[in-house]
Assembly symmetry: C2
Homo-oligomer: 259 residues x 2
Amino acid sequence: MTTEKSGDYLRRSLELLWGRRERPTRGPKPGLTLDRIVAAGIRIADAEGIDGLSMRRVAAELGVGAMSLYRYVPGKAELLELMIDRAYGMTDGSDAPRDADWRTVLRTVALGTWRMYLAHPWLLQVNLARPVLGPAAVAGLDYALSGLADLDITDHERMGFVTAVDGYVAGCARTHVNAAQAARQTGISDEEFWTAHGPMLEKAMLSGAYPHVAALAEDAFAVPGGKLFEFGLERLLDGLEAFLAARDAGRSGGGAKDA
Amino acid sequence: MTTEKSGDYLRRSLELLWGRRERPTRGPKPGLTLDRIVAAGIRIADAEGIDGLSMRRVAAELGVGAMSLYRYVPGKAELLELMIDRAYGMTDGSDAPRDADWRTVLRTVALGTWRMYLAHPWLLQVNLARPVLGPAAVAGLDYALSGLADLDITDHERMGFVTAVDGYVAGCARTHVNAAQAARQTGISDEEFWTAHGPMLEKAMLSGAYPHVAALAEDAFAVPGGKLFEFGLERLLDGLEAFLAARDAGRSGGGAKDA
DNA sequence: CCGAACTGGGTACACCGTACCCGATTACGC
DNA sequence: GCGTAATCGGGTACGGTGTACCCAGTTCGG
């Protein structure tokens, strides 16, 4: 039955994520550990990109046969899930202020996530269908929510705050990370890329079809991605702050409203 | 030479994107057109997901041999670029207000992009290294900039506005779209997924390790993605508006500052 | 001490992108 | 008109992928 099989797959993958797994007593001792496999996968993905990550490659890195990995992991998708949650958990939590105001907390989360994406670009290139609900992911959410605990807003709005920041970070990081990897991935340097595009774009600009793009200063595109990210992040936080201010004003002035 | 080859690839791909291509006079008439190939690719990717898109599959859809496609397209990457720019261009521009205030324009852009991502989820699942600079993409940027033309801000800030909105939309859409495709992609229904996660999450909540997540109302996660998206979008636009207000106040009150 | 349970991993299959090659078709130069 | 160069369709083949299946070797419970 398909249902049973997928259920087993799910249960298995969850056990791996949350670390519940008792060693069977019989049989030879395993020569590998989940940790080593996941670490090897991350090492390869970091160094060679997500396209360089194959089961055979991971096995080679560990000096075992390809099929041995399947004794520890149901399949490649599950390995990726484990790699993702592991990467989530690798952020050093020491710089995370504990009892700060909500804005500091959300900014800390955003910058930490941003840095994580830059360190592990493949996180945004693997498209897992459902979000990975592992211990590290839940811990990250918990920390973000801790900053919003004292605010007088609904839980829906709390989640709205967090997902807005997360969405913004992921979107910005995706384009930034892809661009940063472009030269290696395509074998075409930035210089080649732009000199190839130059004539075409110039013609397009002169055509008058794109007046507002044409009116831009030449260096309008030459802003480092990090600066662009921080600019938008502060604007988003400003917007959330404005929401709180408006809510406070409404609460003290008029009747209370809840959803 | 590698350099020459990649240069040729680039030039070829650009010619395809911008439609500059004169029919060669000799040889048999082509039985296919670029348009038909790109359209077939989009049809397949829409219907079967990005994993279902292969050169052999596209060729079969068109009733030709796999290798025939390479007479029209240098490779799969270039086909994807063409599909992306085509999808950009498929947004119906009729509902785009022409002389509206910047907020209306940016909101229109954001909602249009959001709808496009929902209609073509694969747009966010294919990770092209560099952004596709085709005619439709440039036209979209031009429209967004048209809404910001009258604002008294620098071009860098203009680009900051646009990329902030674009980044937010892409990030939100990515998670939303992945979740929406999850059931088909994994063969696991939402119900199966959550009933499998239930016990594990309950245990985690009771462990006390995630107090703030545990404190959430049960239905905190049950907000439709579209509502979450719109909430954050308005907050972001609020933040941009606050930026303009602060700038105006600074300009009228103190000395002018420019970057 | 036998058999059950487990580990390592080789082989094989279906599928992928695409390099290379060949015959058929067409238009140009003579 | 005719040879020839250019182009089109596409078959074959290669190296890669994830992984199902199977078997040999190892270890412990009964």
